[in-house]
């Protein structure tokens, strides 16, 4: 077992944030659009330089409403996520090690010093979508402030090439806001005003993607997922596995973007319960390794059984991630070498099988892609037109027109010939494009998430939430004490007015109403 043994031993859940090159990037955090969530999406990362070390401060929040078909007044589907974390920050690092009695582990201290690790805290609040608490409004305002300061800092750095002193002051002021966010998050977590449960996790994320969660939820809230009489026995608590998975997914999307499958098909990375692995005298992660590996390979097997017709995932891409996962276990010495070698050998065979079975499909897709350019398409259409005309003139007499000496009747004939040629060109284009498009449908392309503002997805609550929440947060500072439902009504009225105006314009264009003319 390697340097992480003692850390793994105190945690409750194991997961892995996929990374091909063995090093997670912090770039994605600064784009709040990429993180999980529907509204109130904020995420910030700031780097602070101290002597020869760089400290990172990370904060993110969003409100996520789970999509439906399980409906009903009794079911709450909205959750607010709040995450704060640091990397290489000595004060918080020491506090974490002291909290879990890990200060004497020299190998872990060495790992932290050389590799760095994200130590964070994740809060999942069951949200009342009708009304926010004043603390939550304050939290969102702080996130708005830190986002604005971060953007100003990047502008000073990238555009203005500001002096080092000013940049240091900017960073210091961002960190001050970050500390306020950290304190407020702690206050929200422990607040007696919380009507609904608050779930909390201490999180550890290594550079190569190992994600460890420690459940630090208060006992009164643990009762919502613990089987009776077993709040500490995680082997008996089924919903907690789902809670871990949700927590893991949130942190994952702060650092990871899907390249090899679409987001709605992101179901194959499990959160592994660490308690069975700790049950024996020694920590044994073999079953967890197999559990994660099988989860990776399950979609590939399913794809194979369907003859690679369902292209919602890219099989080769998934196999690359699987190999990277095996490397992580190998280089962190988390399981025996014999298990690693076995996994690597079978992955090689699996990869060869996938390549062999997809060979003909891939060749066809490659051939079609290489021919999909303007020159090729125009040449093809021209050849089609010439061929059709050649065949036609064999059976049908076509009167020639002298373009230099056009008679009255010739102009009409010329128009007819031109229309015919255009129709032929269009037909040739369709004959080329339709089969090649059908072939190209067989290749994997990540589906871009549509960012619809007016009409969101099937859950209408989210559509109203987007605008209503923005207005609520903005005007709540004026102490109007207007609830979100009022803003939702206003948002609905605004949508209706905009639709009415668009409908009027369309009507006038259609019927050429004179009363609009000035």
């Amino acid at each position: 077992m390697g340097e992480l043994q003692s850390l793994v031993g105190i945690c409750d859940c194991f997961g892995w944030v996929p990374t091909i090159r063995g090093s997670l990037s912090l770039d994605l955090i600064n784009d709040a659009n990429e993180i999980l969530g529907d509204v109130d999406k904020y995420s910030v990362e700031v780097k602070n330089y101290k002597n020869l070390r760089s400290e990172h401060y990370i904060a993110a929040t969003s409100l996520l409403t789970v999509n439906d078909s399980k409906a009903g007044e009794d079911i709450l589907r909205s959750f607010r996520y709040i995450f704060v974390g640091t990397i290489n920050e000595p004060e918080r690092c020491n506090r974490y090690l002291e909290k879990y009695h890990l200060t004497t582990d020299k190998s872990l201290a060495n790992y932290l010093s050389k590799q760095g690790m994200l130590l964070g805290h994740l809060i999942i609040l069951v949200e009342n979508p009708k009304k926010l608490t004043s603390d939550e409004v304050e939290l969102i305002k702080l996130f708005q402030e830190i986002t604005r300061k971060s953007e100003e800092y990047h502008s000073h750095f990238d555009v203005d090439a500001a002096p080092m002193k000013q940049l240091a002051e900017d960073r210091h002021s961002i960190i001050e806001v970050w500390e306020k966010i950290e304190s407020l998050a702690e206050k929200i977590e422990k607040s007696e005003e919380n009507v609904y449960p608050v779930y909390c996790f201490d999180t550890v994320l290594t550079r190569d993607g190992i994600l460890l969660l420690k459940d630090v939820t208060e006992d009164k809230h643990k009762q919502t997922y613990a089987a009776p009489g077993s709040p500490d026995d995680y082997t008996c608590n089924v919903p907690v596995h789902r809670l871990f998975k949700v927590a893991m997914n949130y942190i994952k999307y702060l650092f990871h973007s899907n390249y090899h499958h679409n987001q709605e098909h992101d179901t194959f990375l499990p959160a592994s319960n660490l308690h069975p692995a700790k049950a024996g005298s020694q920590l044994d992660l073999t079953r967890i390794f197999r559990h994660q590996l099988e989860a990776f390979l399950a979609p590939v097997v399913k794809l194979k059984r369907h003859g690679f017709k369902d292209y919602t995932i890219d099989a080769n891409g998934i196999l690359l991630y699987t190999k990277a996962f095996v490397n992580v276990f190998k280089h962190n010495k988390l399981i025996a070498d014999v298990e690693i070698r076995k996994a690597e050998d079978f992955l090689d065979i699996q990869e060869k099988e996938v390549n062999y079975m997809m060979q003909s499909k891939k060749s066809l897709v490659t051939a079609v892609l290489s021919q999909r350019n303007v020159v090729f398409i125009l040449t093809g259409i021209l050849a089609f037109i010439v061929a059709v005309l050649k065949i036609l003139t064999t059976f049908v007499h076509v009167e020639k027109i002298d373009l230099g000496n056009l008679a009255d009747g010739d102009v009409y004939k010329l128009e007819q010939y031109l229309i015919f040629l255009m129709l032929l060109a269009f037909l040739g284009f369709c004959i080329y494009m339709i089969p090649s498009s059908l072939i190209l449908k067989n290749r994997f392309r990540p589906k871009k998430i549509k960012k619809r503002w007016f009409f969101r997805n099937s859950n209408l609550e989210k559509g109203k939430l987007a605008l209503a929440y923005s207005l609520y947060i903005k005007y709540n500072g004026m102490k109007l004490n207007v609830s979100i439902s009022v803003w939702q009504c206003l948002a609905n009225m605004l949508y209706a007015v905009i639709l009415l105006i668009l409908g009027l314009i369309y009507y006038c264009m259609l019927f050429d109403a004179d009363w609009l003319n000035i």
Binding site: I75, R242, N249, S458
Partner: protein, 52 residues
Amino acid sequence: MLVAKKLIEGIINYSIISKKENKHDVSKQRHGIVYNKKDRKLEADQSTILPF
């Protein structure tokens, strides 16, 4: 046109929900959580992933 679009999307969503195979296919289900405020319990959300 927008109303027609939403209607068609709704019909497609309904046809996906009503198919038995989708209810039992784990890969087409969400892996989330919901909170039942009547029972005060956390429950797994295994609702079908809808196309629209």
